[in-house]
Amino acid sequence: MTGVKVNNVLGSLGLGILAILITVAIFAPQIAPYDPHDTYKWMERPSSEHLLGTNDVGNDILSEVIYGTRVSLFIAFTVSITAIIIGTALGLIAGYSSGVLGFLIMRIVDIFLTIPRMVLIIVLAAFLTQSIWNLIVIFIIFGWMMTARIVRSEVLTLRSQYYVDSAKMLGGSDRYIIWRHILPNVVPLVVVQFIMEASHVIIAEAGISFLGLGDPVARSWGTIFNYAFEYPNIILSDAWMWWMLPPGLCIAATVLGLTFVGYALEERLNPKLKTVVGMEA
């Protein structure tokens, strides 16, 4: 019983964090006190004018972080939505057509999952021009496999269950069966997968940007953190407190929010974790 309560608390906490961050991202121009590209006196300490001070070229750090929310969340959500759609489609195909095509898709998934994707992403990012669009494309290419695998195995389970068969016997077309019977069962799993992927991308994008491969114009949290980190002797002054800590905490908060929501959803969806021992099946 307490498990359910803890779940609900974590889930609501996660949703709360995400709601705040998404609002900040959407209304960044209204919330941010300045344009993040405007320059003022550089390396200012926090003051009533610049709540988080200014950076080495004189941008207002608070505004930079607020606009950074936009960049980071935009990348994360664009990538995960697209990757999830691709993964679901390929998973449905692989699970529903058990021929060569399905086999081929699953082999590709296996191979993609064995190659360490982060290293390849870093290398690709090093070869390409630094822009958020290039990052988005790279992340999508490496982001769909887990969804495809999960959707496929769910489709296989559902297919072996009687109601898909009986729908077929009653003359339902394949498309009807996928829409009416399979997709509704797959959606909850896909939602969890979406959340997992989003939090992967947040961390991965931050990492790539920390290596200096982020978009220098549309600065994400990772990029801001990296600029601060690269500033000579930053930790010897107090500047790390308002320049490094805010973007760092934002990354952690986003991941935490996504993790909590994902965890609560998964617990609710996975009945295996809730069986009462000894109940007659």
Partner: protein, 309 residues
């Protein structure tokens, strides 16, 4: 009297409501007697078995008394209960395929219980495990003891489960569906084996298979929706069943023409008012809908829960 269960209730609370899996059951087993507990899937018979051995989650509410020899099993500590489990009372769980640890050698799964309760050393316990495998007619037992469960057939796994239960020479055996999923030939072999090895022991046989009960039991209790509805010597149950449910159950046997009982057994969360069987009963009367019938002894040792009996 080796086991005396009185007014036993086992209730689980779930998000959907209170599950009354075992609801006020009285049942006793004498020395060397085999009692069959029969009912449809979901009537609570496995839960009764697990309640006796106290293997249910600690969140379960259990009320009443279970007297084993002189001890009330519901009053002793978990440590004392562990000493009884596997040693004095052995439970042979259903589904040997999932009840055997897939990554542990079969011999070791038997030997560990011997080491625990009889204090034998590793070597002696392993030897005794091999002897046990032989006693349940597993060919070349010393070689088979070193194999893993997946290398055994369904019938052989069931034999392993029986050997495991008998390993410490218990006085009471609770066997849960020991013939489920076996084909006819293997089933009759297992019945023969059980008959042989439990000759000197008391056994509670949980099953939904009447042919198994007929072959093995001295007395039979029928369970419906968490309570007993009829309890009598085996012969009387088969020759002169008194409860409509028992008659229906017998009628659904293949040789009696496979006439199923109409309707479905109720969920243990929403039990019907009055007699729990009345929605499915062909001779239900007005009183059956209002009043819950008690267990009455209509003949010596023959109990029925029905206004009509």
């Amino acid at each position: 009297m080796i086991l005396k269960i009185s007014k036993l209730k086992t209730h689980f609370s779930t998000p959907d409501g209170l599950v009354r899996a075992v609801d006020t059951i009285d049942l006793s087993i004498r020395e060397r007697e085999t009692v069959g507990l029969i009912g449809e899937t979901g009537c609570g018979k496995t839960v009764l078995g697990l309640t006796i051995t106290r293997l249910l989650q600690s969140s379960t509410t259990v009320k009443g008394t279970i007297i084993y020899k002189e001890t009330n099993l519901l009053k002793i500590s978990e440590t004392e209960m562990r000493r009884i489990r596997g040693d004095e009372i052995a439970m042979i769980l259903q589904n040997p395929t999932t009840s055997l640890n897939p990554v542990m050698r079969v011999g070791e799964q038997i030997a560990e219980v011997i080491r625990l309760h009889q204090g034998l050393n590793k070597k002696d316990a392993a030897e005794k495990a091999i002897k046990m495998l032989g006693s349940v007619r597993i060919p070349s037992p010393s070689q088979r003891a070193n194999e893993y469960p997946h290398e055994f057939s369904g019938g052989m796994k069931q034999r392993v489960m029986i050997a495991m239960g008998l390993a410490c020479n218990p006085s009471l055996i609770i066997a849960d569906e020991p013939t489920k999923g076996l084909d006819v030939t293997i089933k009759s072999q297992i019945i023969k084996l059980l008959k042989e090895v439990t000759k000197e022991k008391a056994m509670l046989l949980i099953t939904h298979d009447l042919s198994v009960a007929r072959a093995l039991c001295d007395r039979i209790a029928l369970m419906y929706a968490g309570e007993l509805v009829e309890c009598a010597p085996a012969g009387e149950i088969f020759d002169a069943p008194r409860h409509p449910y028992t008659r229906g159950f017998l009628g659904s046997l293949p040789r009696n023409g496979l006439v199923p009982i109409p309707g479905m057994s109720p969920s243990l969360i929403n039990l019907p008012q009055g007699c729990r069987f009345h929605p499915r009963c062909a001779n239900a009367k007005a009183i059956c809908k209002r009043k819950h019938p008690g267990m009455t002894e209509i003949e010596d040792g023959h109990f029925v829960r029905c206004f009509d009996a």
